[in-house]
Structure formats: structure tokens, C-alpha cells
Symmetry: C2
Subunit: 156 residues, 2 copies
DNA sequence: TTTGAAACTGATAATGT
DNA sequence: ACATTATCAGTTTCAAA
């Protein structure tokens, strides 16, 4: 992969701030024409620097107002158990982020739900039913100072 | 704000999966013409359901391979101290997510840096220099199972 | 690698059902 | 609230510097 120069980095900044910014406007801001912008963006896409373009949605306007961080500890730690948990958790739409971490617990989950009722249902009927769950400690998000994560959408 | 119907929700799903999907393709998938798609998207934007469109970038290809979750406890908890910390942390580009939480600590930070050297510098010369920091406990991300967060880009 | 221009495609607005 | 049509703006491609 070719190293990224400053023009690439600025293009990435612009597209991260607004994925719909036109090649024309990017070109104008960088004192170039649209062709090099277009070619660089295509290159950044094909090299995987740009993974995708997404719409950032408002959680609460989609009825998902409760964010909970869950520290999960497994009972068994053999590789196969870790992998099974990772597979299982990927299938839960409420889990919008999941990290395998060092330290006290094994995983940190970011869970997005409508309200406390839905969270109770998630814990009792979804998370706790996974095999190999040892301990799950919930911490509720009081205020989101910085964050931009996808929102799960269930079409009825 | 008008309630969202299933067509709205599907449009949101499509745009979350790919912000560059054309009105034409969305229309085809929903058996409609481009006009209602266009009008609905404009409405969703103006109502703030769609907050922005962004490019998802590959962290490691941008030289940010180390993700650390930091539990921060403050010394003083009066409202003014909390607000000051929130203001301060917004100015740190390494902090890509920040939550005020219930439970053991006061804040959880997601920090994105190049490597351990850069992390040491962040802790010693940036986080620890903020006033009112009581305790900061780091947990390193071993594996990211799910996540899509913006990457800070510094143009040289 | 970039420019400039030409061909193509999608976004947008007006009109009608 | 949606379909059709017409116009406009952006993307995309290519010859040439």
C-alpha cells in the first residue's frame, strides 16, 4: 500500500466530516481539479483505508435512549470458548460495540436499548442464555460526551 | 416529529449500510420511484433523525493500532468539576468516545493511539495534566469484535 | 500526476394523479 | 403521498500536457 500523503489525509478528514462532500468542493479546498480527487478516493477505497460510508443516526429519535456498558467475564477461557462468545455476541443487535480486553473482565459490551424494560429482557433472555457467561456487570451511561456508533434498526 | 413508518426505517437501514446508495436503488428495492425516497430522506435529515454522513476509516491503515479503554475517577464531583472535565476531554483528539457512567468510576474513555509510546505520552502529558483527575485505570483492547468509530487524523 | 472537456448518471424541482 | 417528466449538477472517463 502506498503511503498516504497530506492530500490523502485531508481528503479523509473531509469525507469523515461529510461523506457527501462533492469532489468539486474537495478539489476547490485543496486547489486541485476533480480528477485527482476522484482517483485518490477510488484508490483509498480499493486499498481499504476507506471501509464504508454510513449515515449517523440519532439514537433517541429511533427510540433507543438507554446506553449500557457491560463488563462480561466468562467461566472458561480456552480459545474455543472465547471464539464461541464472539460469534454469539455478533448476533445480538443490541450489542453495538464489543471488545476483548485485558484487565478485570474479559469483554466490554456497549448495549443500546429502548429503556430499562428492554434492557432487563436483554440481560435475562439474551445475554444470560449464552453458554459460558460467568459474570456480567452493568454500568449505565448517564451522559454521552463523545460517541458515533451505528443504531440497530428493526423493521417491523 | 412525525412517526417513522417502515419505509423510513428501511431507508435508514440502507443509508446506514451505505450512505452513497442512490435514491434510484433504494426506490427499486422498495418498489417506489425516486421522488418519495428523496422527500423522505430530506425530511429525515431536517428532523435530525439522520445526523450526518461519514466515511468509516481503517484505524490501523491510518497508523492508530492501539485501542485503550480508560476508567477515570475524578477527585471532586461538584457539577462544575464534571463539566470542566467534559470540556477538557472533548479537546483531546485521542479520545474518540467518552461516557459519564454510573458504577465504580465516573467516566469511561475510548482512546485511540499509534502504539504504547504514544499512549504513555497521552497518559502522562495529556490526561494526567487535567485538573481534578483522581484515578485512571487502563484496559487494553486485545480484539475488536464490533466497532465503528471515527479516527482522529492529524495532517502534518 | 494533473488538466480540461465530453459523456453519462443521478439529484432535484415542477406538474399531475 | 406517489408517478412522470424535464432540468441541472456531479461523477466518470479520456486525450493530452
Amino acid at each position: 500500500m502506498a503511503a498516504l500523503d497530506n492530500i490523502d489525509l485531508k481528503i479523509l478528514q473531509f469525507l469523515q466530516a461529510n461523506a457527501l462532500m462533492t469532489n468539486k468542493e474537495i478539489a476547490a479546498r485543496l486547489n486541485l481539479t476533480t480528477t485527482p480527487i476522484h482517483e485518490r478516493i477510488k484508490r483509498l477505497e480499493s486499498e481499504g483505508v476507506i471501509e464504508k460510508y454510513t449515515a449517523i443516526l440519532n439514537k433517541s429519535k429511533l427510540g433507543k435512549s438507554l446506553v449500557v456498558l457491560v463488563d462480561v467475564t466468562l467461566k472458561e477461557h480456552a480459545a474455543s470458548f472465547l471464539e464461541q462468545f464472539e460469534k454469539d455476541v455478533l448476533l445480538l443487535p443490541e450489542v453495538v460495540e464489543c471488545y476483548c480486553i485485558s484487565g478485570g473482565s474479559d469483554f466490554l459490551l456497549k448495549v443500546l436499548v429502548r429503556d430499562m424494560d428492554e434492557y432487563r429482557h436483554f440481560i435475562l433472555h439474551k445475554l444470560a442464555t449464552l453458554s459460558n457467561i460467568g459474570n456480567a456487570q452493568s454500568r449505565f451511561v448517564v451522559n454521552e460526551i463523545k460517541s458515533q456508533t451505528p443504531v440497530p434498526i428493526e423493521v417491523i
